[in-house]
Symmetry: C2
Subunit: 275 residues, 2 copies
Amino acid sequence: MCATTRRRAPTIPQNNMSSSSTTTSDTPVAPPAPGPAFSPLYQQIKGLILQSLEAGEWRPGELIPSEMELAARFRVSQGTVRKAIDELAAENLVMRRQGKGTFVATHAAQQVQYRFLKLQPDTGDQREEGRAQRQIIDCKRVRAPAEIARLLALRSGDAVMQVRRVLAFVGTPTILEDIWLPGQAFKGLTAEQISAYQGPTYAMFELEYGVRMVRADEKIRAVLPDAEQAELLHVSTSTPLLSVERVAYTYNDVPMELRRGLYRTDTHHYRNALN
Amino acid sequence: MCATTRRRAPTIPQNNMSSSSTTTSDTPVAPPAPGPAFSPLYQQIKGLILQSLEAGEWRPGELIPSEMELAARFRVSQGTVRKAIDELAAENLVMRRQGKGTFVATHAAQQVQYRFLKLQPDTGDQREEGRAQRQIIDCKRVRAPAEIARLLALRSGDAVMQVRRVLAFVGTPTILEDIWLPGQAFKGLTAEQISAYQGPTYAMFELEYGVRMVRADEKIRAVLPDAEQAELLHVSTSTPLLSVERVAYTYNDVPMELRRGLYRTDTHHYRNALN
DNA sequence: CAGTGGTCTAGACCACACT
DNA sequence: GTGTGGTCTAGACCACTGC
């Protein structure tokens, strides 16, 4: 197993400058050293686990190796692996379950059905009125306008999938969404595929396209709908709506989805917890 | 050093049921025991530190005892205190600074000037256009209407302070806020006091009234302003605005402020990061 | 230099889930 | 019982701050 026994620099290329015990250093003059800054071991381990996650070594929902196994693989103590996984769990990339193990996070089968949707019914009857009814208005392949391309880190004119749909709760159309996805990664996407899938769209992205949304940013405004939007939501053009522009990212902060939502807030509200 | 040497139950009343080694327990029949559930030591330590914070043993901005000192005080290892403080730091109740110590968090002198204000200018010129200009419209003591009272966990008719003000950025009025505060805790509040204080209102609450806002909940809607609101914000009554209802809490989830904001979103947007 | 938070380890034991 | 995550400890050492 372990060939050499050294304290730091276990397998991982260590960038930490080892403070030499002798005052006369081998490198005569290299004093300020603005460079690599120092990265703790557990951060490096976290990076390695992250790489495996990205590479798909373990698929969403699957069990990853136990802390002891990972500790052995990386030649560090279990505590160090633990701290690395702690951070990954805090970022919702993995999920721990005592007695069972650590699982790769997934948008499917998650305790919170819609992780990124903060819209809630005003009435406190919890877990929404069951499922949302989805209606696909449109699903087509187009060339990305400049602004869409910019937000998705593509070039203007690159192919993108564009989807428009309406979500209704207990019969009331409440959300109108326009979704843009990089054409490259989402080649065969069809309206049927979207409507067929039960549960969050993001779960389908994982299963069908191997794309895992890891975090997102939202910009929220109050707007008035145009005639078409108003009609789809069954409101007048003078009804103020919440405009929610969401960019969702995979690993490494790569944007993989742009979603522009119009939310009716007469029966629902956007909820946000501040810490 | 430590007088007695026991593993668990150090000073702190331990609620964990000690699984007796002998199968024949002293208490004949008490099988299901749905009760106390088990609370790890570090959680209890966290609770004790929390109590000291609430009691004002250390004031906002002050240094709390070192991890070693706290460990000695509570008769636990430094690592256990560390984990307790880790959580407190994650909840923004304290702030750690390597080499210096751990400080009680404060809304003043914080790296993020407005911790609970998520409105940002559309242009990316960062840290806002300097300070906001504040204009107090009104500040009076009133009897709480039913709904206000409910949100502040008061009784209808209890005295509350009510403040209305407008925040302007580079000359443009952008935020209209109505603030309600329990009359009990905020007795002598005056318009002068609010306008005089530089920096976040929440920092003033800490200094002048010893009230620390620890977390908050926001409900967001899109609305149209009434005539008075429109005038104060220099917009028409057909301009959609963001309605942000915030309830801010002190320790123990006690609500201490209700704030209803109307945000103009023509030059600004509400930003939210989803994880 | 001493003091503080931050990292790392090794080992013991506890709580939980499965079998 | 075995294996997993979760807790707790004790001690060593590192990085940063300020005297």
